[in-house]
Subunit: 462 residues, 2 copies
């Protein structure tokens, strides 16, 4: 049995496996009550903070500016005095202290894996993980995967690119730790999606990991090849990298298309083990597995932790990381949290609506806040439309215009006027805005094998 | 100290590391004399064969056709009575027994990783590895990497695609086992090579793994970006997937371009741990690490094992594989072996000229055998030519014509007539054939990020 670990950083028995019908990987922690969990997390937090203080010039500098020392940390209230960390800060620190920055808390010789951001915008960031970090990530991910129903008898197709991106590697490490069969197929090479369809048919994996956009793209490819994605017979599809799997109608589309369950996971690559945001098999929003990564929801303006039931920015802190630990990393995402009980019985708070936006993704059109995920939800709830859409914002004279471009699906003849009207009506009802709808010929919109970019803002202040 | 393992399959201590200045990972085995090694290999072979007989319907059927039982195996002579296995047979067996074939010797639940051939020609083949297989591969590769000078303090850039292809995964597993820093960057995505150049500059890995073609392509890209590949400061470049690293002038080009040593490794994906063909730091041809994979060189026609000093087809047999073990797998490659001592002192035979051709790659032009690797060696020995070339075979009336297409390098002005004449002269001397030479504008020939295809045979009998 996987006990409460009192050493820090914890080392987990890599041969441990629960019995197949056991719902919890770590029953002792996962059945704690809220107060026990709070104490357990606080103990780990104190040790992580002590470790960071002793090893990270980056944080020592940040904390000395506010006069904080690890001994000051008695309760979460003390912790909430600590400054946030932003991605921008990390990037600048790495520019000044190349390549790993001044938050590398291990010797360069102890680095086990190097990854990073893809750096499509600006200077990329470098991630270093120690061997212990890798093994703890594998343990955490195996535990969370167990929670959503994966078992050692599963065969897991990993349909996302293996390169800098931590998503694929994190999924793989969890699958390997559990002892399920890993099929690390990857993605992103020209022609690879058609191959994926054939391999899925041949090898019949029981689980799939990727981005929601890619799963839908793959399904479309399969249909073009005359194959119903249900033939793959996948029982669990789990996702990260995009909010889609937490958007109700996208989830519904994925589940109806593949005939398996759709599970939402994922925080940030910097926060690896990133699956510490992860749904259980009941799929009522991602749990915050607080004993792996400690997460607060913080008001975007007051910067205070918000009560359950309210919206805020997830702010993450590692609890068992040796190399490049993050303390109060400001995600910039938006979500809403609750502590209402989940049927699974775990004491973790949940994000019942997933991560539905980013402070900086939100589009303000004529004074109305529009989240791309809200548009996604509406588009995918309408039968007869394909999964793709694009949001185009323009300014004519002084008036902002929001146009949603969609396509009919390829199933057959549609009443295009009716489709357009239905969509326009729903958008108006939900967003409170009159929106232009453009129905493009099927297949016009770009499909993606990775993370989709679906907003085009043509207004001049951008 | 890493002792001679007497259990089968062996389990290795995953925390073991030699001292940094120790030349051998497994001194006890690597300093045996030839006779001790012979006995050690024979013992492992008997156990592998017994295991295969007990678990593989595929081999039981093959062997019962020749009346062989494991008890019959007393010496290598008995072993040489066993039939060869061909890739074609494996493919057909998997078609009849999808997806893993009748040579899967473990339960499907015990499969740890699934990989395969890319299947560019015909039906792909599926590879299954058990967890033990994976760990033994990691151990074997770490041991061989140690032999060519890699150490836990190295940072290893893996510049080949992570998908079905076993090359990247095998290199990664070895690096992870040794505890060097793995930087699994991958390859094959559009635009990834330019990114690779920038990451190499930023992170400064000390070692590089990929295909020889890709290393040269990457160097060319770097130069286009105004960067001398020596700035990467890579001390070891190791390769598999193509014969290039064993071709003297290609090796020289790589070493001169990067300023690091060029190491040749690799047998076949089916034979994972494929690094069991692998050079030591003296780089006098790949050693056959006979206690990991037992290799014979077999005459292509008589099918008898050839004496040292002669040319033959490498035929491989696993010695510590649980899932899909191969017994006498016919590679179809061509090489020459020797047992002359290597300065490293290891008792393993060597392939001093690498794997220089394939029985079916050989082009017969007007009765003369031409190996593409011989053309490669000539082209790359001429200053002023780029690394790329293409061999085009045509038939005009009844006469075969061989044209070698090359390009000047981008270094500056060249006397194109002199270049053409030099190449034509050398080709005639070495091949014994008059060959057409076509000097194309720089950058015309296709560059590859993976394995190069450089022969175009336009004759109608193909």
């Amino acid at each position: 049995m996987n006990k409460v670990e009192t050493k820090w950083p914890p080392t987990y028995d890599r041969s441990y496996l629960p019995k197949n019908d056991e719902p919890y990987w770590n029953r002792e922690v996962e059945t704690m009550d809220a107060e026990q969990l709070r104490q357990h997390v606080l103990e780990k937090l104190k040790r992580q903070i002590r470790y960071v203080y002793d090893h990270s010039p980056f944080y020592r500098k940040k904390w000395s500016a506010v006069g904080f020392e690890p001994g000051d940390l008695k309760d979460f209230k003390d912790f909430e005095m600590l400054p946030f960390t932003t991605k921008q800060e990390l990037r600048e620190d790495q520019l000044e202290n190349p390549p790993f920055g001044s938050n590398l808390c291990i010797s360069p010789d102890e680095i086990y894996h190097i990854h990073g951001t893809s750096g499509t915008t600006g200077k990329p960031t470098v991630f270093a993980l120690s061997k212990g970090d890798w093994e703890r990530m594998a343990e955490a991910h195996a535990r969370i995967m167990w929670g959503f129903g994966l078992r050692p008898t599963d065969k897991v197709f990993i349909g996302s690119v293996f390169s800098l991106y931590m998503g694929s590697w994190g999924a793989l490490a969890g699958v390997e730790r559990m002892g399920a069969a890993a099929f690390p197929f990857g993605a992103g090479q020209p022609g690879q999606t058609e191959k994926a369809v054939r391999w899925l048919l041949d090898v019949k994996p029981t689980a799939f990991y990727g981005t929601p956009s890619y799963a839908l793209y793959l399904a479309e490819k399969a249909k073009e090849m005359g194959i119903d994605p249900k033939e793959f017979n996948i029982r669990i599809l789990f996702f990260s990298g995009e909010p889609g799997a937490g958007v109700p109608s996208t989830r519904k589309r994925i589940e109806e298309t593949f005939g398996g369950i759709c599970v939402d996971t994922g925080s940030m690559a910097e926060m690896t083990p990133w699956m510490a945001n992860g749904e259980c098999m009941h799929r009522q929003g991602m749990h915050l597995w607080q004993d792996i990564v400690y997460t607060e929801l913080v008001h975007p303006e007051t910067k205070q932790v918000v009560p359950y039931g309210e919206e805020g920015v997830p702010v993450y802190t590692h609890l068992e990381r040796e190399a490049q630990p993050m303390v109060r990393l400001w995600s910039g995402d938006l979500s809403l949290w609750t502590n209402e009980p989940c049927p699974c019985g775990r004491p973790y708070p949940r994000l019942p609506k997933g991560i539905y936006g980013r402070a900086d993704d939100m589009i303000v059109v004529r004074g109305v806040n529009v989240y791309p995920s809200a548009v996604e939800d509406i588009v995918r709830s309408i039968d007869g439309l394909s999964d793709e859409f694009r949001i185009v914002v323009t300014r004519e004279n002084i008036m902002d215009e929001l146009t949603v471009q969609v396509e009919p699906d390829t199933a057959g003849a549609h009443d295009t006027n009716a489709l357009t009207n239905t969509l326009q009506q729903k958008l108006k009802t939900v967003l409170g805005l009159t929106v232009q709808v453009e129905l493009l010929p099927a297949g016009t919109l770009e499909r993606t094998e990775f993370k989709a970019r679906r907003v085009i803002d043509k207004r001049s202040f951008k």
